[in-house]
């Protein structure tokens, strides 16, 4: 009888104290999730996917540890090109450690780069099938990054990763999408300076790949040039030069070669590089002519650099 009384009293006390602490705990839990001090909740589906790992991983700090070991274990299926296994492993890893950018980066890289390229050269498939599978894996990579953005909306690296994939010329590029993603990234607060700079330059680079947006490319290059310092990259300088010669681009105050490049030597160096890579990009105006003109000045020529003399100049 006394034991039963004790049990009843204990249950009553636990019930009263439990009821009173619930709202406090709920508020604390929300604050902790907002500050990302605790991992996001696992849904029933996620738990069933993780199976015993979910059970183990619910105990603090084991989630990142298990994720780290699982990540190392993906080396084998990666080497064997077992992309389904790699994908499954990373799905679990991302459930376990969703605030770790490194795993999202790895997962999307495996899908959009490694798996996609592997499948593209898979001779057991027809060409149509290869292209289809190639696109599917690239899309998987993008989907992974999108999920990462959803869970980590404040981490600019995800936006950067997505934009780089969208703008990758070897991955069915979508330059307008890449530009928009980078612009979205630039609206985020507290971006590091180098990220802002890189994003702006990537926006210019992607805009350059859209011939119909030539005017926009020039405007961007001009703005970046005005910022000075690390912004005056070859991409910016070359765009200003090309725009001077573009038949449709409106250039209100054309800048001279020296104003753009600082010296003829510099101009020759950058223009030559641009000319070498010309097949990979849109048409570039005035470059060939300027290179020939600069090469007449033999003091600018570097005897070791014979690349131009050996390339096709009559296009």
């Amino acid at each position: 009888m006394a034991k039963l009384k004790n049990v009843i009293v204990i249950l009553i006390v636990l019930a009263i104290t439990g009821w009173s602490r619930m709202p406090i705990e709920q508020q604390l839990a929300e604050d902790l999730h907002e500050l990302k001090l605790v991992p996001p909740r696992l849904s029933l589906e996620d738990r069933s996917r993780l199976k015993q790992k979910a059970f183990i991983a619910t105990y603090g700090s084991l989630r990142p540890t298990i994720a780290a070991f699982m990540s190392s274990a993906t080396t084998r299926p990666h080497s064997n090109q077992e992309w389904d296994k790699v994908e499954d492993s990373f799905e679990e890893i991302l459930l376990l450690d969703p605030y770790n950018f490194h795993y999202w980066d790895m997962a999307s890289w495996h899908m959009a780069y490694n798996a996609a390229i592997d499948k593209k050269s898979d001779e057991s498939l027809t060409e149509v099938a290869r292209n289809r599978v190639f696109e599917r894996y690239i899309q998987k990579g993008k989907d992974i990054i999108d999920r990462g953005i959803e869970i980590n909306p404040d981490d600019w690296r995800f936006q950067n990763l997505k934009a780089n994939l969208e703008g990758n010329r070897f991955r069915n590029p979508d330059y307008p999408a890449a530009i928009e993603t980078h612009k979205q990234m630039l609206t985020m607060p507290d971006l590091p300076y180098h990220a802002v700079r890189q994003a702006n330059i990537r926006i210019l680079f992607n805009t350059q790949n859209l011939p119909e947006r030539h005017q926009e490319a020039y405007d961007i290059a001009l703005e970046l040039f005005a910022r000075g310092g690390q912004y005056r990259t070859p991409i910016v300088l070359n765009q200003l030069f090309i725009s001077n010669y573009h038949p449709l681009t409106i250039v209100e105050s054309p800048m001279s070669l020296i104003e753009i490049y600082g010296s003829e030597q510099n101009a020759l160096k950058h223009l030559r590089t641009l000319w070498r890579n010309r097949k990979q990009g849109p048409k570039i105006y005035g470059v060939e002519k300027m290179i020939k003109q600069l090469e007449k000045n033999t003091t600018l020529l570097d005897k070791k650099r014979t690349i131009y003399q050996n390339t096709e100049v009559n296009n």
């Binding site: 006390v13 604050d31 619910t58 990142p64």
Partner: protein, 310 residues
Amino acid sequence: MSVSPESFKKTSFISLARIGVIASHTFTQLVRMKVFYFLIAFVILLWGAKQVIFQNETGGDTSPEQELRLIKSTGFAAMNMFSMLLALSATALLIPKDIEDRTLYTILCKPVPRLDYLLGKLLGVLALIFVSLVAMDLVLCFFLDQKYSEIIDIQTLTYTRQGMPQDMIEAKLANINAHGVSINIHLASFAIFLKAIVIASIALLISTFSTSTLFTLILTLIIIVIGLIQSDAREYADTMAKFGVENQLSKISLMVAVFFPDLQFLSIEDGVIDGHAVPLSIMGRITILSLFYLAIYVILSWFTFRKKEF
């Protein structure tokens, strides 16, 4: 022989001195069981974690952070395991062992209130866990700092050789800084200690009415597991209540949320592993909530133990 009033002392309801005696005795008992040898295994484990180098595969530069995260996650996981096992087993074993060996008789036959005995035992276990966690925290910080210094040196050299502008180098190093030694490591260790406090007090409560050590261990373990998912149950019950939905699952979830402790809020080390800072206000709330659990379970333990017959 007459009994003088001076010799017949009134025993206070609670005495810090007496609690201290029992706590110190319990601490010594556990130390002489050589539990500190675990620290050797801990040092080896962290040394191993420090040797791991992640290859820079994707072309990004998150590998240095990964290496630091691995040391932190390994260290915190080991601290969690050790403190949980010790809190659970030491507390679950102590009282039944005293009863079985009848050493309890000789203690309770002195002017020792039962509450003092319970608190002394509990505090002795917690003192051991605290000392162990402080040592492990220092070891973790040592290895983390060593690795961090190595990484900073290597990365600075690498970035400089790559011709990276200074502001970019600084920004990248700032990312690595977030994973170095900071006060957040100590706060996470303290949170692990708070978790051990809650687990030990649960084990204490169960051991006051349990008839066997094995039962105490199993039941406490079950409560811990439920406690780790209690927040999910509470969230579900709360959501269903907001929508005005009441089904069997929501009722069960509510019962779980009311009767079982929430251990999830004490697992802030995950956030520290990710490099997030722990605001002191959050730490304060976590501490108060943990001490609330401690108070409730100790009071209930005393309530059960005060009339227990031997």
